[in-house]
């Protein structure tokens, strides 16, 4: 098995020469380990006993009834240890890092979920860990900053550019270029230079493998559609990957922010153009001269001006439909799911719920759909309270 460096024209390794040999080593190590039964047994054991997998596939009956459309199943990644799907990937990559003899862990984070998941896995393996986080995100995700510190990680504020995920990733790459010998860089989405997009997809594909087995048990058939939010796109790829050999419909939901027409959004596929950001060719938000534009979303995890290269490919191929919902629609869905199901979703995942609310009419009442509930909303409570005026 060889790891793809490209998805159609997308992907590649547009990074300084200094780290290319490290990417070669990573690809070779991953190819070796992913075929090693011992490695896979160790990973499966951690996913079960540390992460808490399998996560349930839950039929949201009251939401289904309320919308009067398809039967809505929620893949409960919010129930993973640390509260989101991100840990599936970080545990896998930490195992790789240990196998490769790396002594130090770095990562970037937007909402802080990947940072927390990386800090958690680094603590589990006893490795020192530094997390790069934009100053703007630090301000709006204070809780996750504290969690990372409690887990023993150093949180390094990034004050350049838009002070969000994009800049945190620039800074993490710069650290990696400088300390590439002993440092392992844990990328948190299906983005970055090859082989990262394929590695992260593979580690996240446990979501789809479980969901496929579970829906067959509960519905006796495959679902009509899969729906997931897309920032960089790791939870979506994790769900979609296991269904690629089927005819199941797939929708990725990007952040329309304050509205696509305002220019303040994070819809790289819908409104971006082809370009290179963070080491791979994909759809990105940029001006006519290729300067990267700031993304905008109420959800820090979707506030990213790029998208994983495989998503760009799946878009062009017409295999996955991409759409977007606004901050306001996501907030309404956040409230709706909380009140009807007793589940407070992450603002990221609320975008996927909002898509279903908005497009219930696309489905027949006999349909069954799976929505990836990629994370829980505890981290967003403060932000939501401000937006909804709950703290008068």
């Amino acid at each position: 098995m060889s790891i793809p460096a490209r998805f159609g024209p997308y992907g590649g390794r547009y990074v300084p020469e200094t780290v290319i040999p490290a990417l070669d080593q990573l690809a070779a190590a991953y190819e070796r380990m992913s075929a090693d039964p011992g490695f896979n047994a160790q990973l499966d054991g951690l996913l079960k006993d540390f992460v808490g997998r399998p996560t349930p596939l839950y039929l949201a009956e009251r939401l289904t009834e309320k919308l009067g459309g398809p039967r809505i199943y929620l893949k409960r990644e919010d129930l993973c240890h640390t509260g989101a799907h991100k840990i599936n990937n970080t545990v896998g990559q930490l195992l790789l890092a240990v196998e490769m003899g790396k002594k130090r862990i770095i990562a970037e984070t937007g909402a802080g979920q990947h940072g927390v998941a990386t800090a958690t896995a680094a603590a589990l393996f006893g490795l020192p860990c530094a997390i790069y986080m934009g100053e703007k995100d630090i301000a709006r995700q204070e809780l996750n900053v504290v969690r990372m510190k409690l887990l023993g990680a150093e949180v390094i504020p990034v004050s350049s550019g838009s002070r969000t995920l994009k800049d945190a990733m620039n800074e993490a790459i710069r650290d990696w270029v400088t300390n590439v010998g002993e440092t392992y860089y844990v990328i948190g989405s299906v983005a970055g230079p090859a082989p990262y997009p394929a590695i992260v997809r593979d580690f996240q594909s446990v979501i789809g493998r479980e969901a496929r087995e579970q829906i067959l048990q509960q519905e006796g058939r495959l679902p009509n559609e899969l729906i997931a939010c897309v920032g960089g796109g790791s939870n979506a790829m994790g769900l979609f990957a296991a269904f690629m050999d089927t005819g199941v419909g797939m929708t990725g939901v990007e952040a329309a922010g304050e509205g696509l027409e305002t220019g303040r959004h994070g819809a790289s596929i819908e409104r971006g153009a082809r370009g290179v950001l963070h080491g791979s060719l994909s759809y990105i938000l940029q001006d006519a001269y290729g300067q990267i534009l700031e993304a905008h979303s109420i959800s820090a995890g979707l506030d990213y001006p790029g998208v994983g290269p495989e998503h760009s490919y799946l878009h062009d191929e017409g295999r996955v439909r991409y759409d977007s919902v606004t901050d306001a629609e996501a907030l309404a869905a956040f409230t709706l799911l909380s009140e009807t199901e007793g589940i407070i979703p992450a603002l990221e995942s609320s975008h996927a719920i909002a898509y279903v609310v908005k497009h219930t009419g696309r489905f027949s009442p006999g349909d069954a759909i799976i929505v990836n509930l990629s994370g829980r909303g505890d981290k967003d409570v403060h932000q939501a309270a401000r937006a909804l005026g709950l703290l008068e």
């Binding site: 490290a22 550019g161 001269y289």
Partner: protein, 261 residues
């Protein structure tokens, strides 16, 4: 032999002096004065950066200069025009991140560079494996695609890079980003010897070269000395462009002295 290679081969100095400035920093007009200072200070070649929003090979000093230029509204077209103003006086190479080239259109960008008299293009985030199409476009227009090697490059990769290189090879002195450093890497001589063993193409060293002593040390093993962040800091700290010009001119003259045969 390309114009750049010719320049290295016919030199009298131990190594060529190759100062860098971000194009349009601090402003287009003031940048012109800095480039005049490069000429007056005895530079053999000008390296001009195209400001990019996300320069991931650069340290804080070059990053800040790019952001300042972007805030001033500087575009790749402005930098190409600036290159055109100076390419008659000294050979000019551009340092440009790949997305700026890609968004412009690879052929269109290289055409514009050739038109401006640019001799070479350095794309720090386009390693040799990805550079095939771009290098072909450059060669067809008589512009050298300048490839980079790093201390982490394996011998196998150095051979790959050497086989594709023309003009000169940009040797990154240390694993890291651009920025002034207090000392050069102790491994630099071994690294340069490894590269030299694989190629006759001239070698220029950059990243961290920031004092006359560094330049003298580099000149023992390499054909060119690239100085960037230190110069940008001098311009930033001067505050006034006339003071900056005097500081840059006299600093480059100092460097030039140690490069004399």
């Amino acid at each position: 032999m390309s114009r750049l290679e010719e320049l290295f081969r016919s030199r009298k100095k131990k190594a060529l002096l190759m100062p860098y400035i971000t194009g349009g920093y601090p402003t287009i007009h003031e940048c012109r004065h800095v480039l005049d200072a490069f000429v007056a200070g005895g530079a053999d070649m000008i390296e001009l950066g195209v400001p990019f929003s996300d320069p991931l090979a650069d340290g804080p000093v070059v990053q800040a200069s790019a952001q300042r230029a972007l805030d001033e509204g500087v575009t790749p077209d402005d930098v190409l025009a600036l290159a055109g103003e100076f390419s008659g006086r000294l050979p000019v190479v551009l340092l440009v991140y790949f997305n700026c080239v890609y968004a412009y259109g690879q052929e269109r960008f290289v055409d514009a560079a050739a038109q401006a008299g640019v001799s070479g293009l350095i794309v720090p985030d386009l390693p040799v494996d990805e550079a095939g199409e771009f290098a072909g476009i450059c060669r067809a227009r008589g512009v050298d695609p300048i490839l980079l090697v790093a201390p982490t490059s394996t011998d196998e990769r150095i051979s790959m890079i050497a086989a594709q290189a023309s003009g000169f090879i940009y040797c990154v002195s240390v694993a890291g980003v651009t920025g002034a450093r207090t000392s050069l890497s102790e491994q630099l001589p071994d690294f340069l010897a490894r590269v030299r063993a694989k190629t006759d193409v001239p070698l220029a060293v950059g990243f961290g070269v920031s004092t006359p002593d560094h330049a003298a040390a580099v000149a023992e093993y390499a054909d060119g000395v690239i100085i960037g962040s230190r110069l940008i800091s001098m311009v930033a700290e001067a505050g006034d462009i006339d003071i900056a010009v005097r500081a840059v001119t006299s600093f480059l003259s100092l460097i030039n002295e140690v490069l004399e045969p």
